[in-house]
Amino acid sequence: MILKSLTSGIVAGAAAGLFTGLLQLALVQPVLLHAELYETGALVHRGAEAVSARWEWSGIDPARDGLSLLFSMLIFAGYGLLLTAAMSLATEGETSISPRAGAIWGVCGFVAAQLAPAFSLPPEVPGAAHIDLSQRQIWWYATVAVTAVALWLLAFGRSNWHALAAIVLLLAPHVIGAPQPEHFEGPVPQELAALFASRALGAGLAGWTVLGATLAWLRKHSAESSV
């Protein structure tokens, strides 16, 4: 059972990670590369002359983009394993989650792991102002954890008190507040930063949905094939 759980989590995660990585390369990476020109000072926003918003994509960089695909697969394999653990906990070992329901599990994973932290710490373009990394990472882990518990209470809680506790948990990280910089200093135009944040979240939602559906299908398939 351990091997089967590990395999389905890693395989579904790697597949969803490859899908998400390709989506990010096509739609998120060009925005990041454009922003990096402002980070390094190759382009200057609000200088003496207006800068064209148009930019030519420099094409595939095999080493850099290959590593991005690899790490996207690794991160999604991690997400896949956590989703496997959660599905297994909810279904008490039965594999009764349909791929459609799995997609909803994936959306919940996206809300916990990406949307909730982004609500107070949006995906950053390179060069954005920030403070001490470890404080933000601690806040990130805590936010993902309490949001996951809150969604679990909303989905499986049996009383209104569970729903009330869920709302408190969903709000808490944002009421307490994420570590924010003292000053604004980002050299990247707001248009690019906003596009980057929404593209990153959209690609994440697509990736998590694929992950949930693929994982549910794999769990069902591997259970049926072993009977």
Partner: protein, 58 residues
């Protein structure tokens, strides 16, 4: 017979819990290494993906 079935059920449950635990720990480990550890080679290799997935990167 009943004792044997009970034994099997207990074994199944503990195996399931072990699977949940192993998946949880490995999943968290993978996300931490690929998304959050700051060793410079890892940071450079994972840089673009960390930004695109909303991890705190710098």
């Amino acid at each position: 017979m009943i004792a044997a079935l009970q034994q099997k059920a207990i074994l199944g449950t503990s195996k399931r819990h072990m699977a949940i635990l192993v998946c949880g720990i490995l999943g968290l480990g993978l996300i931490t290494v690929a998304g959050n550890v700051q060793a410079s080679a890892l940071h450079a290799a994972a840089h673009d993906v960390r930004h695109a997935n909303g991890f705190a990167c710098h």
